[in-house]
């Protein structure tokens, strides 16, 4: 092909070459040439017009998480690009592969405080894996190739490409035979066999081994290897917020979630284990609590694709840099079979004693709808019906989503774990719905977070997206903050009581079916009606207002010190757990 193309056409061609099918964005002055060119590529490149660039960014994020492909979002210079910032930061924290394409003022105007000029490469430097400012049309093919390669390999993440308007307008014969110029980038690093052997030796001698899995397992598609490994060595498995779905929760070795709102028996198991085998989780402080007291008895093995994660938060005995799946496959070859049933039984006894969900079953006599009613019913119905994806927003409902729904499959649960971005839910759900048109996508949002990005309901309508259902857990508060105020600030509800529009009527204004539920007995029918309705739906669950998420590790405390369920109203001093460690000291039987 020796035809001349405009920069904008080259951008379209490059995206198609990278396998892009869908993009989420909003046009504006400096990105108009790209939109002009895009018009001719409509059959290959579907553009979804969002209502806010943050929505476009999260949608690209959701699309990427659900599909495993790179998500693409677009914004114009200045406010378009700054509106993308939150979504980019969110993708960075959760390692989602997205490429953000932004227009920039013409090269002759850069640096002159031109209209809608923002130094977006400067702004996004610390929140992207890499970014580019393109001032020369000849660079476009290479930059796009590199951007997608960087976003989708190694520890995946967001890449931003900022393209000056005149670059989009000028033309050249593109040279697609470009090579990547990335001498400092080695995503395909291989681990040393020595480390694998050391890890196996440590795990073979462990009396109380524990495996903790995170996003890395899902990103590398290692769920099957995790199951094989766990069964082979009989090691119980802990799934972090982002590890949810990486190991089926009905498996006899599945323990559940650790951390600030993890279960007591899980945190106790971490505090007592003698070898902690971390695969693809980054020891976030929401998992570790006070770092110096985390897993005090354990030797720690950490498998991570990003070398800089190893030893970052928690002292590590053996660090293995590599892809979770490849490492587990390698380890499986030599790992002897183990029997650790005594240890597993001991943890199960603790679980029995603390009855993880018991707190939620206590209800004030006058309560007509508890969050628990919604979550358990939803869990049952979605699991019965199958083909579901669930996106949580941020707050109490996010933790209930993780705690109270039974998770079985990878890439079914999506949460803003790293940045904790309120407003994440709906737009991310939209991206998931576009990526998985045959699945039912449930967005679970708080009344606060939903009001941050609900404008995307109109995007859903315009695009004819039908497979998205929104469940608002409406408690009339910025609930998670209110909970902290209740527990640690003497119920000074400063800035947390929240008024809401009539959500069903708001939905109706968008042309979306809306429904309000305030009785436990109506939950099941409401959820089923969402399935029967062939289109998006918003259900406003008006729940008891002051319900708390328990157990809870207070900020900065050791995960060994949990506040467990306190009936409403909370007693003066919340009950905390103290345990005597597992008595068995006899070595466990090692088979094979």
């Amino acid at each position: 092909m020796s035809e001349k193309l405009t920069g904008a056409q080259i951008m379209c061609e490059a995206l198609i070459r990278e396998g892009v099918e869908v993009m989420f964005g909003i046009p504006g002055g400096t990105i108009m040439p790209f939109y002009y060119a895009m018009y001719d590529y409509q059959d290959q490149l579907r553009h979804i017009l969002c209502r806010h660039e943050q929505g476009a960014g999260h949608a690209a994020d959701g699309y990427a998480r659900a599909s495993g492909k790179v998500g693409v979002c677009i914004g114009t210079s200045g406010p378009g690009s700054t509106n993308l910032v939150t979504a980019i930061a969110n993708a960075y924290m959760d390692s989602t592969p997205i490429v953000a394409v932004t227009g920039q003022v013409a090269t002759s105007l850069i640096g002159r405080d031109a209209f809608q000029e923002t130094d977006v490469t400067g702004i996004t430097m610390p929140i992207t894996k890499h970014n580019y400012l393109v001032k020369d049309i000849e660079e476009l093919p290479r930059v796009f190739k590199e951007a997608f390669y960087i976003a989708s390999t190694g520890r995946t993440g967001p890449v931003l490409i900022d393209i000056a308007k005149d670059v989009q307008q000028s033309s050249t014969v593109p040279n697609w035979n470009v090579e990547l110029n990335l001498p400092g980038y080695h995503p395909d690093r291989t681990f040393d066999h020595e480390e694998i052997r050391d890890a196996i030796a440590l795990l073979t001698e462990a009396k109380k081994p524990l495996m903790i899995i995170g996003n890395g397992v899902l990103m590398s598609g290692a769920t099957e290897e995790v199951r094989q490994f766990a069964e082979h060595m009989g090691v119980p498995v802990v799934t972090t917020l982002h590890g949810i779905g990486g190991f089926p929760e009905d498996h006899p070795l599945s323990l559940g979630m650790p951390g600030m709102h993890g279960w007591v028996h899980v945190n106790r198991a971490i505090q007592e284990c003698d070898v902690l085998f971390n695969v693809g989780s980054r020891f976030d402080d929401r998992v570790t609590g006070k770092m110096s007291t985390f897993a005090p008895n354990a030797r720690i093995i950490h498998v991570d694709i990003d070398e800089s994660e190893i030893g970052k938060n928690i002292r590590t005995d053996i660090g293995i840099v590599g892809d979770a799946r490849a490492v587990l496959q390698e380890m499986l070859k030599e790992m002897p079979q183990r029997d650790t049933h005594e240890w597993v039984e001991y943890i199960r006894q603790m679980q029995e004693k603390h009855q993880p969900k018991q707190h939620y079953m206590q209800r004030p006599p006058e309560a007509s709808l508890m969050p628990y009613d919604v979550f358990t019913t939803l869990s049952r119905i979605i699991n019965e019906r199958g083909n579901y994806r669930v996106v949580a927003d941020v707050g109490q409902h996010q933790m209930w989503t993780a705690q109270l729904i039974d998770w079985h499959k990878p890439r079914t649960h999506f949460s803003s774990g790293g940045l904790g971005t309120m407003g994440f839910g709906l737009p991310t759900g939209m991206g998931v719905a576009v990526a998985k048109p045959n699945d039912t996508v449930w967005v679970i949002a708080g009344d606060g977070g939903f009001q941050m990005t609900n404008q995307e309901l109109q995007t859903i309508v315009q695009e004819g997206i039908k497979n998205i259902k929104v469940a608002i857990i409406n408690n009339g508060y910025l609930g998670m903050v209110r909970q902290w105020q209740e527990l640690f600030e003497n119920k000074r509800y400063s800035g947390t009581p929240l008024s809401c529009p009539d959500f069903p009527r708001l939905a109706e204004a968008y042309g979306i079916r809306g429904l309000a539920v305030d009785q436990a007995s109506a939950v099941e029918d409401a959820i089923n009606s969402a399935y029967e309705h062939d289109g998006p739906m918003v259900i406003d669950f008006r729940v008891e207002r002051e319900v708390n998420v328990f157990p809870m590790v207070p900020q900065g405390k050791s995960i060994g010190e949990m506040i467990v369920g306190a009936p409403n109203p909370v007693p003066e001093v919340p009950r905390t757990v103290e345990e005597t460690p597992m008595p068995i000291e006899t070595p466990l039987v090692v088979k094979g």
Partner: protein, 180 residues
Amino acid sequence: MKRHTIIALMQDQPGVLNRAVSLFRRRGYNIASLAVGHTEIPNISRMTVVVESDEVEQVVKQLDRLIEVVNVTDVTYESTVDREMTLLKVGALNGNRAEIVALCEVFNAKVVDVSQESMIIEMTGSPAKVENFIEVMEPFGINEMMRTGIIAMVRGAKTSHTHKTYSVEGNGRVSTEALK
């Protein structure tokens, strides 16, 4: 606080330095000195940064993670040749010129500019020696001074990028290969 000397090789393109030093800024570490320049490899520049901090391991790893950074080493505990250059403009009247020149000779410093009331002296040496020289010059009145910051190189045949080889392709691109 401990002083760390870190050497990084990176692609010579806009924005690289900003990315690299941002990692120190983010943590609130003060950069004591920073020197950047070309190397024996085309399109690869070298940064020597001296920071005051007890904890640099994580920054070093995160530097290495930057796409454009090809290699990073913390040479604090290695035996290195450290050099720094300084230019000093000192007040030099007829009465004290001879004395200044004599001191310059002791320190192997060069007088590079002389005027009626002042002279510019160029001095290169280890950071300690430079420090020492500045002290000695102080009584004459230092009117202006600039230090380049330290550049460092590991002693012996070992290079600070021994485990990688570099080749420059026809298009000016650099490729690296692990030797292992």
